[in-house]
C-alpha cells in the first residue's frame, strides 16, 4: 500500500516548477524588459500533459496520499487544457490592463498545481491543503486589478466566504478523523463499510460539514451567494479560469470523497444532493434569465452547469460517473472560450460586458461573433456541439438510474437556458447599435488561436465524442 514513488506527483511538479520559474523571471527582469513568461507556463503545462499520458493506466501512488489513477489523470488533463487556453487568452488582457505579468502567471500556475493535487488527492488533509493552495491563488487573481474597486470587492467577498466554508470543511474532516481514526480515503471507506455506523449521529454531522464545504466550492444553491459577485468583479479571463478550473478540481475531489470513502452512506447523502442539484439547476437558470450583464449571466449559467454535474453524481452509475468527467471537459472548454471572448473585447477603462455592448458585434468583429455563437450554443446544449453530448449522457445516466424527476428538471432548465443564450446571439446578429461604438482594443492573434482551438474542440467532441468518452469510461473503471 505505502509506496514512496514520486511518479504520481510529476504533473503537479512540472506546473509548480514553471510557477517558480515565472516568479524568478519576474524578480530578475529589468524594468522595461519584455519576457515571454506565459511561454514558461505553457512549457510546464505541456510537461504535465506528457506526464499524464505516460502515467495513464499505471495507477501509481505517491506516499499513499496522491494517487495518479485514470480518474485523477483525466481531470488533470482537463486542467492542463484549461491552463494552456487561459494563458493564451491572458496575453492580450495583461497588455490592455497593464497587469503585473510575473505575479499573474505565477499565481495562475500555483493555482493549477493546487487543482491537480486536489484532483488526485487520496487523503482528506491533502484535499484541504490543495483546496487552500488553489483558493489563495484564485483570491489574489480575482483582486489583481487593485485600482478597480469592484475587483477588490469581489476578491474580498470570495475570500470571506471561501475561508468560512473551508473552516466548515475542516471541521468535517476533524469529525471524520475522530470517528474513523484516519484521514486516508481508502481507510475511511474500508472502516465505514466494515462497521455499521449508521446509528452514530456524529458521522452524519461529519458528512454534512464536508458536503457544505464542497457545495460552497462548486457553488451549489444555497451556497452560491459569492459566485455572481466574484465572477462579475474579477477580470473576465480570471472568471473563465475559476469557473472551469476550480469547479473541475472541486468536483473531482467531491466525487472521489463521496463515491469512494462515503459510498456506504449513499442512502443518506443521495437525497440531499438530489435536492441541491434540483435547486441549483432551477435557480441558476431562472435568475440567469433576468441578468443584463453578460458576465453575471454567465456566472448564473455556470451555477446551473454545476447542477447538471450534480445530477451525474446523484445517478452515479457507470454512465453517470463517465458523464461527469466528459461534462467537466465539455463545460471547461466551452465556458473558458466564452469568457475568453468577453476578455478580448474588454478595454482598459470600459469592460464592455453589458448585454447591449454586444449589439451589432457581427458587423465589427464577425469572427469573434461567430465563435461566441458556437460557445453559447454549446453551453445551451444544442447539437452538434459538445454541450449536447455532455448533457445527453448526464440525463441518460439519470434516467437509467431511475431519477426521472431530475432528468425532467434538467431538460426543462436546459430549454429555458437556451433562451438567454440565444438572446445574446440575437443581439450580436440582428440588432443595430444605437449610439457610438464602444471602444474596443485590437484583438491579439494569440487569443484568436486559442479561440479557434476551442471551437475546433467543441465541434470535434460534439461530432466524434466516442474516443474521449472511452477514455472517461476507462478512467472510472479503475476506482469506485
Amino acid at each position: 500500500m505505502f509506496n514512496s514513488s514520486f511518479d504520481a506527483v510529476v504533473p503537479m511538479l512540472c506546473v509548480t516548477l514553471a510557477a517558480l520559474a515565472a516568479m524568478g523571471a519576474e524578480a530578475f527582469r529589468a524594468r522595461d524588459e519584455k519576457m515571454p513568461i506565459g511561454g514558461l507556463g505553457i512549457i510546464g503545462l505541456v510537461g504535465a500533459g506528457v506526464a499524464c499520458a505516460l502515467l495513464w493506466n499505471r495507477n501509481t501512488s505517491s506516499f499513499g496520499v496522491i494517487v495518479a489513477d485514470n480518474f485523477g489523470l483525466f481531470v488533470t488533463m482537463v486542467l492542463v487544457i484549461v491552463g494552456i487556453l487561459t494563458i493564451m487568452f491572458s496575453s492580450q488582457v495583461l497588455e490592455v490592463d497593464n497587469l503585473p505579468r510575473g505575479e499573474y502567471y505565477a499565481l495562475l500556475l500555483f493555482g493549477i498545481a493546487g487543482m491537480m493535487m486536489m484532483a488526485t488527492a487520496n487523503d482528506l488533509l491533502v484535499v484541504f491543503i490543495s483546496l487552500e493552495i488553489l483558493s489563495l491563488a484564485v483570491y489574489v487573481l480575482t483582486g489583481i486589478r487593485r485600482d478597480d474597486p469592484r475587483s477588490t470587492e469581489a476578491a474580498f467577498k470570495y475570500f470571506l466566504l471561501g475561508a468560512f466554508s473551508s473552516a466548515f470543511f475542516l471541521y468535517g474532516i476533524a469529525f471524520t478523523y475522530g470517528l474513523t481514526g484516519s484521514t486516508r480515503l481508502d481507510r475511511i471507506g474500508a472502516f465505514l463499510a466494515a462497521q455499521s455506523m449508521s446509528d452514530n449521529p456524529l458521522i452524519l454531522v461529519a458528512l454534512g460539514l464536508l458536503l457544505v464545504g464542497f457545495a460552497f466550492k462548486i457553488s451549489a444553491v444555497p451556497f452560491h451567494m459569492w459566485t455572481p459577485d466574484a465572477y462579475e468583479g474579477a477580470p473576465a479571463i480570471v472568471t473563465g479560469f475559476m469557473s472551469t478550473g476550480v469547479k473541475a478540481a472541486a468536483f473531482a475531489a467531491f466525487a472521489r470523497v463521496f463515491l469512494s470513502a462515503f459510498e456506504p452512506f449513499s442512502q443518506q447523502w443521495v437525497p440531499v444532493i438530489w435536492v441541491l442539484a434540483a435547486a441549483t439547476m432551477i435557480l441558476g437558470t431562472v435568475v440567469g434569465v433576468a441578468q443584463s450583464n453578460l458576465k453575471r449571466m454567465l456566472a448564473y449559467s455556470s451555477i446551473a452547469h454545476g447542477g447538471y454535474l450534480l445530477v451525474g453524481l446523484v445517478a452515479a452509475n457507470q454512465i453517470g460517473k463517465a458523464a461527469i468527467l466528459f461534462y467537466l471537459l465539455a463545460y471547461a472548454i466551452t465556458n473558458l472560450a466564452a469568457f475568453g471572448v468577453i476578455a478580448m473585447l474588454a478595454s482598459s477603462n470600459d469592460e464592455n460586458e453589458e448585454l447591449r455592448d454586444y449589439k451589432g458585434l457581427w458587423h465589427t468583429h464577425p469572427a469573434l461573433a461567430a465563435m461566441m455563437t458556437v460557445c453559447l450554443l454549446s453551453l445551451g446544449g444544442l447539437p452538434p456541439t459538445v454541450g449536447f453530448v455532455g448533457k445527453w449522457y448526464i440525463f441518460s445516466a439519470a434516467v437509467s438510474s431511475g431519477y426521472y424527476g431530475l432528468a425532467v428538471i434538467g431538460m426543462l432548465t436546459s430549454v429555458v437556458s437556451v433562451f438567454f443564450y440565444l438572446r445574446v446571439v440575437v443581439m450580436m446578429y440582428m440588432s443595430e447599435r444605437e449610439g457610438p461604438e464602444p471602444v474596443r482594443p485590437r484583438i491579439a492573434r494569440m487569443g484568436m488561436v486559442a479561440l479557434t482551438l476551442s471551437v475546433i474542440l467543441i465541434f470535434y467532441l460534439g461530432i466524434l465524442p466516442t474516443r474521449v468518452l472511452d477514455y472517461a469510461a476507462e478512467s472510472i473503471a479503475t476506482i469506485f
Partner: protein, 100 residues
C-alpha cells in the same frame, strides 16, 4: 483525565462563536479573527480526537492547519488593505458596488 466529550463541546462552542462573529460583526478585521477562531476550534477537535485515539496524527494535522491559517490571514489582510484604500471604511455594509 478530562473525557473527550468535554473537549468536543468546548470546541463546538468556539466554532459557534466564530460562526456567529462572521455574521454579526461589522468590522472586516473582526470577521477575519472570527474565521481564525473557527479554525482554532477545529484544531482543538483534532488534538482531542488524536489524544483519544492514541495517535499523533491529530497533532500533526494541527500544524498543517496553522500554516494554512497563517497564509490565509496574510492574503485576507492584503485584500482588506486594498479594499480600505478604495473605501476608507472597514464596514462590510458599505461594500455594495456588486449587488449581493
Amino acid at each position: 483525565m478530562i473525557p473527550l466529550d468535554h473537549y468536543l463541546i468546548v470546541s463546538a462552542i468556539l466554532f459557534a462563536i466564530g460562526t456567529a462573529g462572521v455574521f454579526l460583526r461589522k468590522n472586516l478585521i473582526t470577521i477575519l479573527l472570527s474565521i481564525e477562531i473557527m479554525l482554532n476550534a477545529v484544531n482543538l477537535t483534532f488534538v482531542a480526537f488524536g489524544r483519544s485515539l492514541g495517535t499523533v496524527d491529530g497533532q500533526i494535522i494541527t500544524f498543517f492547519v496553522m500554516t494554512v491559517a497563517a497564509a490565509e490571514a496574510a492574503v485576507g489582510l492584503a485584500i482588506i488593505i486594498a479594499l480600505y484604500r478604495h473605501r476608507e471604511s472597514l464596514n462590510p455594509d458599505t461594500f455594495s458596488s456588486l449587488k449581493w
